[in-house]
């Protein structure tokens, strides 16, 4: 009954069962001396059986089919019951089918239909020979029971009867879940949230230890999703745990460091580092076993989140590039060619018209330049071989100078990297902020500061333009920036610079990534050596990078 075309097999069985029932009734009725009625009932039932069970008509799941078959069969059997009570068993079959195909409700409907039709046929004129006018009453519970048993069997069988190949069924279920989560709980499936939950769980299991979750970037570096960037000791532990796909324990000068791979099947997707500087008590065999169990459970979840993150990023990049292509090959070229036409007309025009055309040409040049920048924005990405500060600096320099802004860049970047997804969002936020400055601020100077010390980062974009006093038409842009910041667990503020320094003009957009904010344990991260005082003062206008 199973296999690829299980229902086709069932169709064969259904026909065989019906033919047997008909044959049984025919033989008994003929034996009772009613060959003509037997032939009539048999012919009608064969017709019903064939039409009712025919593949094509009889797709499983059409609940009304068994009901219709019940009605038709009950009519025939009921009307001719005086001749052949032996055909009554046939009535069992539509009910069984209702149960197997559609469940209890279809059984109930078929049963009611059968009962009603039999009751109606019983009203027909009495038979002269004094034979019973209707189906014996004891058949009713038998019919009901058969249907009920079939419905129960359906429930049991259904589990073992996958309609789709199991791999696809699983994949589809997983994707549906991802889809739901992604739609309704956009923060539920990001690696950061999941990793934070895991870290908190582990720190509960191994009291006193510090946990970090690291993933491997495409460039081969280990990047903390949660927790501190690795020091040389943890880095070597992480590397070994990654390669061995097994627990690695190492200790030096009182510090015990454990590397635990997070596995999805055979594959390592991340490494959890547990370190304890207080002595080895928190990392007893018992608590380590508990941590391993927790990590084993979290593995598939984290792997899915990382994968989903990748998929989302790829899809986004794809779409951005497609848009860039569309603008590049379409509207931008058309507008450029209009510009050339204006140049052409202006060369033949009278000086007065030429002056006006000149103004139009300037406007058009600005528009095409804007389109060029839009294409540039859409294509800009994060290069894993170049630091984030460099990427942001290059971008701001390029775009700022095109708009006549004097650009000041000040960076302080550790060699460790932030997760790629975070870096991409930071770039997009800076793009949006710089676009706002270019379009609305009327500024002369633009300051960009980038401080990256994973897992912390601070990026500010400041200008000396007209500030936020007038309600800006681009509040949507600010909303977008806030959404992006939320996605990476950062806070974003847009303020007038006068709030910090009463003599300053313009706006400052600040993105602050401070993971310790989100966690309750104060001993989770070491104190930020840079302190926050240094982080809130605005750049005076230093240019170029400074080394750590």
């Amino acid at each position: 009954m199973r296999g690829k075309h299980w229902w086709r097999d069932r169709w064969v069985w259904a026909i065989v069962a019906r033919l047997l029932a008909i044959a049984f009734g025919t033989v008994l009725t003929v034996a009772a001396g009613h060959p003509r009625e037997a032939a009539a009932v048999a012919a009608l039932l064969v017709l019903i059986a064939v039409v009712g069970v025919l593949p094509g008509v009889a797709e499983p799941g059409r609940w009304w089919l068994p009901v219709a078959e019940s009605v038709a069969a009950a009519l025939v059997v009921g009307a001719l019951v005086p001749a052949g009570p032996a055909f009554v068993p046939y009535l069992l079959l539509p009910l069984v089918r209702a149960g197997l195909d559609s469940g209890l409700r279809a059984v109930a409907m078929s049963f009611c239909a059968t009962g009603a039709v039999l009751a109606l046929t019983a009203l027909a004129p009495a038979d002269t020979a004094g034979r019973p006018l209707t189906v014996p009453l004891y058949w009713l519970p038998v019919l009901a029971a058969a249907g009920a048993v079939a419905a129960w069997a359906r429930r049991v069988l259904r589990v073992e009867r996958p309609l789709v190949e199991p791999a696809y069924a699983d994949a589809h279920r997983l994707l549906s879940e991802l889809y739901l989560v992604a739609r309704h709980l956009s923060l539920g499936l990001d690696p950061h949230t999941l990793a934070t939950a895991l870290v908190e769980e582990l720190q509960g299991l191994a009291e006193g230890a510090r946990a970090t979750v690291l993933i491997r970037s495409a460039a081969g570096r280990f990047v903390p999703v949660v927790g501190e960037a690795p020091n040389p000791l943890t880095e070597s532990v992480v590397l070994d745990a990654w390669v061995a796909a097994d627990l690695v324990r190492r200790g030096r000068s009182g510090v015990t460091v454990l590397g635990l791979p997070v596995l999805m099947g055979e594959r390592v997707v991340a490494v959890v580092v547990l370190s304890d500087a207080t002595g080895a008590q928190s990392l007893s065999d018992e608590s380590v076993a508990a941590c391993r169990a927790a990590i084993a459970q979290a593995g598939p979840r984290l792997a899915s989140a990382l994968l989903f993150d990748d998929v989302r990023r790829l899809a986004t990049v794809d779409e951005r590039h497609r848009l860039a292509r569309e603008i590049h090959d379409g509207i931008a070229q058309d507008m450029a060619s209009v510009g050339y036409q204006i140049d052409d007309i202006a060369s033949d025009a009278t000086s007065e018209v030429a002056d006006r055309l000149h103004g139009l040409r300037e406007h058009l040049t600005t528009l095409v330049a804007e389109l060029r920048l839009s294409i540039f924005d859409l294509r800009a990405g994060v290069d894993e071989t170049v630091g984030l500060a460099r990427t942001l600096g290059d971008y701001v320099q390029r775009v700022g100078s095109q708009s006549g802004l004097v650009v000041h860049v000040s960076t302080d970047e550790s060699p460790h990297r932030l997760p790629l997804a975070t870096e991409v969002e930071l770039l997009r936020i800076v793009q949006e902020a710089v676009t706002n400055v270019r379009r609305h601020a009327g500024a002369a100077n633009l300051w960009l500061t980038v401080v990256v010390d994973p897992p912390r980062a601070r990026v500010t974009v400041a200008d000396d333009g007209r500030g936020l006093s007038a309600p800006r038409p681009d509040s949507v842009g600010i909303t977008g920036m806030k959404e992006r910041a939320t996605r990476i667990g950062a806070s974003l503020s847009v303020r007038n610079r006068s709030e910090i320094d009463p003599t300053a003009r313009g706006t400052v957009v600040e993105i602050l990534l401070e993971p310790s904010r989100g966690t309750t344990r104060s001993n989770l991260t070491v104190t930020d050596a840079r302190g926050s005082d240094d982080m809130t003062h605005l750049p005076g206008g230093s240019t170029g990078g400074e080394t750590t």
């Binding site: 060619s337 050339y340 140049d343 630091g387 600096g393 290059d394 100078s401």
Partner: protein, 217 residues
């Protein structure tokens, strides 16, 4: 090549017909320039270059069957005296520097007036080997101002200094109280960051970039 005067012959390569028409009209207006051919793909352009032997190639960066900058590079190699003007709708500095590296004579954005393209073609005919672009100076400055290249962690800096001093990895490990495998990881990271393949290259790069003090013997 009608020879009234020394005409500048131009081959126009762009897949947008309206762009080609607009530029052709601008060249016609100029008087001293003659558009001898048009092409919309790299293949057509290669063929036309052979057939028409123009003095100047004006090409878009993005062509349906390839890259205009690669085309420019190839054409420049086979015809050293060819003037090459690269047109673009892209705004990134990378295209400008790619055109410079390919040996182009001029780089013009498509937002610029047609006269600028004509002027670039004249320049290309006169000085095919001298690169000009409107925001070349800006771009150069941006490149200079870009935050410095490789950044080493304090630990990597220590390892690098010992590398430069000529210590073996096992000695470095002992000196810094780290395991040999950790020292190896640091060295590998240093190589990666400096784009070096071996110790000598790493030391050279480190000295060149000013990452370590030059040792005077």
């Amino acid at each position: 090549m009608t020879g009234v005067q020394e005409q500048i012959t131009v081959l126009l390569v762009d897949d947008h017909q309206l762009i080609r028409e607009g530029l052709r009209r601008a060249f016609d207006r100029a008087g001293d320039v003659e558009v001898v051919g048009e092409a919309s793909t790299v293949a057509e352009a290669v063929d036309a270059l052979h057939r028409l032997a123009p003095r100047v190639l004006v090409t878009d960066v993005k062509l349906p069957d390839g890259d205009g900058i690669a085309l420019a590079e190839k054409a420049r190699k086979s015809t050293p005296a060819l003037g090459v003007v690269v047109l673009t709708m892209y705004a990134g500095d990378d295209k400008l520097f790619a055109a410079l590296d390919a040996g182009a004579s001029a780089f013009v954005g498509k937002d610029a007036p047609a006269e600028e393209v004509v002027a670039a073609a004249r320049h290309a005919a006169a000085n095919p080997r001298a690169f000009t672009a409107r925001d070349l100076a800006d771009a150069m400055q941006r490149r200079m101002n870009a935050p410095a290249g490789p950044k080493l962690s304090p630990r990597e800096r220590e390892v690098l200094e010992l590398l430069v001093d000529g210590l073996a990895i096992s000695q470095i490990a002992r000196r810094l109280y780290i395991s040999e495998s950790t020292a190896k990881t640091h060295v590998a990271n240093i190589y990666e960051k400096l784009g070096a393949g071996n110790r000598a290259q790493a030391v050279m790069a480190a000295v060149r970039l000013g990452l370590v003090e030059r040792h005077t013997e």
